[in-house]
């Protein structure tokens, strides 16, 4: 991205102060969001989300594995993000690694809940096949195809849509196996289980520019930010994760105000996203 001149900088900041951004939006308005599901047939679930010029793809793959020792009654979920150099020349080689790691850690923090498994967007107990021996491992991969700011919100939305699209094969465990042997399993080719994604949160990023904060910042607006707070809110209105970016410090009262603004914005975003996902699924079936 080319650097901005001083005049452009003042124009952007002045516009935000006047509640009129470069593309005509208000401070708390999202760019148009479009969702497609089932874009990659080989995966168990996939989705593509476009937020303005930001374009991301999320896919879910399920494999049978062994549960962790600490939580033998729960399946495992991992989240990875790849910043493709098709999105931006700066991502060439290892240039995108730092951003990708930051995004994947933020997503894990927002979606996977605490270490005891409480508060996770997915019920991890539903991923167990044989307790202590066999469980489903979910691998969620996010790919950044085009980058124009607000990657975290777009990835969060794409993962939510991909999980809605996910079908996991039903597994039959062979009877008569003794306890200490490794059980034999039969994976069905026709029966699939689907997730209840009503508890998967959405991520709202509030970017502070000057003395105001905006939602869904573009690349240019992000270059003017002093700091940004990404807040993950679920349908029940609970906070599922918070991540702060940018180095400048924030007053605690501002953060609390950001949290209440994010809850308000997330209601509209969740409804919009759910209707987009529902229509995308319907379109895919037809």
């Amino acid at each position: 991205m080319v650097g901005l001149s001083l005049g452009e900088t003042h124009f952007i900041q002045g516009g935000i102060a006047q509640d009129l951004r470069c593309d005509g939006r208000k401070r708390l308005t999202y760019r148009p969001i479009s969702v497609e599901t089932g874009v990659i047939p080989q995966t168990n679930g996939s989705a593509r989300v476009r937020m303005g010029a930001t374009d991301v793809i999320a896919s879910v793959k399920a494999e049978l594995g062994k549960p962790s020792l600490l939580q033998p009654d729960k399946g495992k979920v991992s989240i990875y993000v790849d910043c493709s150099s098709t999105a931006e020349p700066a991502f060439e080689g290892r240039g995108g690694d730092e951003l990708a790691a930051e995004l994947s850690n933020a997503l894990q923090r927002c979606l996977l809940g605490g270490k005891s498994g409480a508060g996770a967007g997915i019920d991890l107990s539903s991923l167990i096949v044989v307790e202590g021996k066999i469980c489903w491992d979910l691998y969620i991969d996010g790919l950044v195809v085009s980058s124009d700011g607000n990657l975290l919100d777009a990835l969060g939305a794409a993962i939510k849509a991909a999980l809605s699209n996910t079908g996991i094969p039903r597994v039959q465990v062979a009877a008569g196996t003794s306890n200490d042997e490794h059980p034999e399993v039969d994976v069905s080719d026709e029966e699939f289980l689907q997730f209840d994604t009503s508890r998967v949160p959405v991520i709202v990023t509030l970017t502070k520019v000057g003395r105001h904060y905006i939602v869904d910042a573009t690349s240019e607006e992000e270059s003017q930010m002093s700091s940004a707070v990404s807040i993950s809110v679920n349908r029940q209105g609970h906070i599922c994760g918070i991540t702060k970016r940018g180095g400048v410090g924030l007053d605690p009262s501002i953060i609390l105000d950001m949290i209440s603004v994010a809850k308000h914005v997330s209601e509209q975003l969740i409804n919009k996203l759910d209707s987009e996902i529902a229509s995308a699924e319907a379109e895919e079936e037809s």
């Binding site: 994760g241 180095g247 949290i259």
Partner: protein, 255 residues
């Protein structure tokens, strides 16, 4: 020792019955923490600066059984591959010794700690005072016993002060764990493993600004309020301890 004794049976007998028995005691109302602290009581904090001779600044910190050593080098010339920068650069690295965790070599996958340490510190350092140069911060966790990252951040800010890097304020960091509806401050490793959610705050106490905030798990707004206030109060007390450590060194050198 009590902590390790408690952890060993879980490692060697992973039967479901044993694991289920572990969890219920946490939710009882009359539950006492494994090391006898109250819910809102931090572990004893020990700081020492000047732990590494070769470094421009260094610090050693202990929070209970969590032991961290941090070295600061620079400001020094940036590598030529880096582009010109009007302000200074901050480079952070956090690593664990192989013997830091109860199971050998397990602590090496904390890659996100480097980025979080960087973001916590860059808001506090006056980067404009050393343009075109780089400051390196290297942190080593000697023993990991819960709440590692807050200890690393606090120790790193002390090391930067020891190196004479100009900062707006000292940086203090504390974390809180959530168990159902109870908040437990400065959790140890045993508590961290079973927590429902966690909240970590890094702040500059004199300026009353938060430079890093991380929340995991499901929280209500009132609970976040409560957790933030708990952390900010603890950070203010921690900052006093850190300042007295710096003053101690200054008065010693005058003698």
């Amino acid at each position: 020792m009590a902590g390790k004794g408690g952890a060993t049976p879980a490692t060697y007998s992973p039967s479901p019955t044993t694991n289920r028995k572990k969890k219920p005691p946490i939710f009882k109302e009359d539950w006492v923490r494994p090391d006898g602290r109250g819910f809102h009581q931090c572990r004893p904090a020990f700081f020492r600066t000047g732990a590494v001779n070769a470094a421009s600044g260094s610090a050693y910190a202990e929070f209970g059984n969590t032991k961290v050593i941090v070295s600061v080098f620079g400001p020094r010339e940036s590598k030529k591959a880096m582009m010109y920068s009007d302000i200074g650069r901050l480079n952070c690295n956090v690593s664990f010794t192989t013997f830091a965790t109860p199971i050998r070599g397990q602590g090496s996958d904390h890659k996100e700690y480097c980025a979080m340490l960087h973001k916590a510190l860059e808001g506090a350092i006056i980067l404009e005072t050393f343009p075109k140069t780089t400051v390196d911060v290297f942190a080593l966790v000697l023993e990991s016993s819960g709440s590692d990252l807050p200890v690393v951040i606090s120790c790193a800010s002390l090391a930067l002060a020891d190196a004479g890097i100009m900062m707006y304020d000292i940086v203090a960091s504390v974390s809180v764990s959530c168990f159902n509806k109870n908040l437990v401050i400065d959790p140890i490793l045993e508590e961290e493993i079973g927590q429902d959610g966690s909240l970590m705050i890094t702040c500059m106490p004199s300026r009353y600004e938060i430079t890093q905030l991380t929340v995991t798990g499901e929280w209500s707004t009132t609970k976040i309020n409560e957790g933030m206030q708990l952390c900010l109060d603890a950070c203010a007390k921690l900052a006093k301890i850190m300042r007295s450590c710096l003053k101690e060194v200054a008065s010693d050198s005058q003698e």
